[in-house]
Assembly symmetry: C2
Homo-oligomer: 254 residues x 2
């Protein structure tokens, strides 16, 4: 079939946050993530655009109603895709309601992203949360949108399992005043040696350029750090890499 110009326009509009919010839809691309979405959250599928060869062998497609399925040519897929090299299938999916993980926050380790701007970092951080079993990632209002197509691609499917909830650190602290709030700062205590309160708390991850905001810093209950080598010339670690190191250490010592 041939996609109408209006349909192409609609799908392309979902690259922008304002249209994702207007329609409550986002884009998932590629064989692996599309199959995962079909297998575990087929109720989220609004419409699916795929090459004939993909449709012929994809499990789960048959359970979708026919009006949601669109067989497209490689040229058509190229028109609607956000990837340099489109990967067989593109899904328009409904943005699910953001809800916290199954365990109460008081018994969980969570992240608070304080102004993460880079979509690749945001996606990689959600993937890290997925790996370390962190159910809930909070994000400040000035973070990149977690349903930005580049974020979704970088999660490698983690967006299906990790909740990302927009809030502020002030609100979190007010609602859960006893929950420890950790943050990596230059003069913090080596995370490998610091006394961590176990497996509960919120780790604040600062902005790529400016680090943790002063609002969040004033609410830290423990200042930690990932110490550089004595002769290091580097000024900082990448935000996602720092997140990975902190999560690994917390999980090991929690």
């Amino acid at each position: 079939m041939t996609l109408s110009i209006n349909k192409i326009k609609h799908i392309k509009s979902l690259r922008l946050k304002k249209f994702r919010q207007k329609y409550n839809n986002f884009i998932v691309e590629g064989d692996k993530m599309a199959r995962e979405l079909l297998a575990h959250h087929s109720e989220q599928v609004v419409s699916l655009y795929a090459l004939e060869s993909w449709l012929a062998r994809a499990e789960g497609v048959k359970t979708l109603s026919r009006e949601k399925l669109f067989q497209v040519s490689a040229a058509e897929l190229k028109k609607i895709s956000n990837l340099n090299t489109p990967n067989q299938v593109l899904v328009v999916a409904a943005i699910p309601e953001a809800k916290p993980g199954p365990k109460p926050l008081e018994e969980s380790l969570s992240l608070y992203l304080d102004g993460i701007q880079d979509p690749g970092n945001m996606g990689t951080i959600l993937r890290i949360a997925d790996w370390f079993g962190i159910d809930c990632v909070f994000s400040s209002p000035d973070c990149v949108d977690p349903y930005n197509p580049k974020v979704v691609q970088a999660t490698m499917g983690a967006f299906l399992r990790v909740s990302c909830i927009e809030t502020t650190i002030e609100r979190l602290h007010k609602a859960h005043p006893s929950l420890p709030i950790y943050g990596a700062v230059m003069d913090g205590e080596n995370v490998f040696h610091a006394k961590l309160k176990g497996a509960e708390g919120i780790i604040v991850i600062g902005n790529e350029g400016s680090g943790i905001s002063s609002e969040a810093e004033s609410l830290l209950s423990q200042r930690i750090s990932i110490p550089p080598a004595a002769h290091s010339g580097a000024e900082s670690l990448n935000a996602a890499v720092a997140t990975g190191i902190l999560c690994a250490v917390f999980r090991e010592r929690g």
Copy 2:
């Protein structure tokens, strides 16, 4: 002044490895890295293209011979830049001879990148090495070129301090047979608990999709892992994130 078409062509050609190798030049962009290059490795500067405002206040510029300096307009900078938003200055620099760090390899922790393909990952890994004081990063011949402009940008200046040397793990092992070779694999021992031989050795970092090659895996003297949470749905960690976690733990326990 106005840049000649030939000059623009030449600078743009350095986006490709074959021209970087032909001319032995690469591109460094942006205020911060250009200033670092001038301050510490001005001998590498072949030519420098910058806005008038940048030239007026950049230290170190005066020590460069005039024929290396080109004042350009914002429109001209846009023509030669690899960035979406050009940042004041672009330098054509000489690729330095790759040489190992100051300490013998037997007394150092090093990385061996086994087919890292993504320029962002490669740059981030060099930045991690810089942070943790790892002087030398070896890369397999099928890795992305460390002088690829996207790699250079992602290093945040680490390329000035960390040597990246192309070799094979077989050659490294032959030359240093007693050096431990570590690699993260699915069935490896938790890196937090494994007996690590101290601060010496080579950590192998596998390709983003396929992990450590069979050639490198057969040479591992210790199989380690970064264990996921019991209920994790993630298949893997990002290669740079895994590198960060391993380096942090080795430095802490070395």
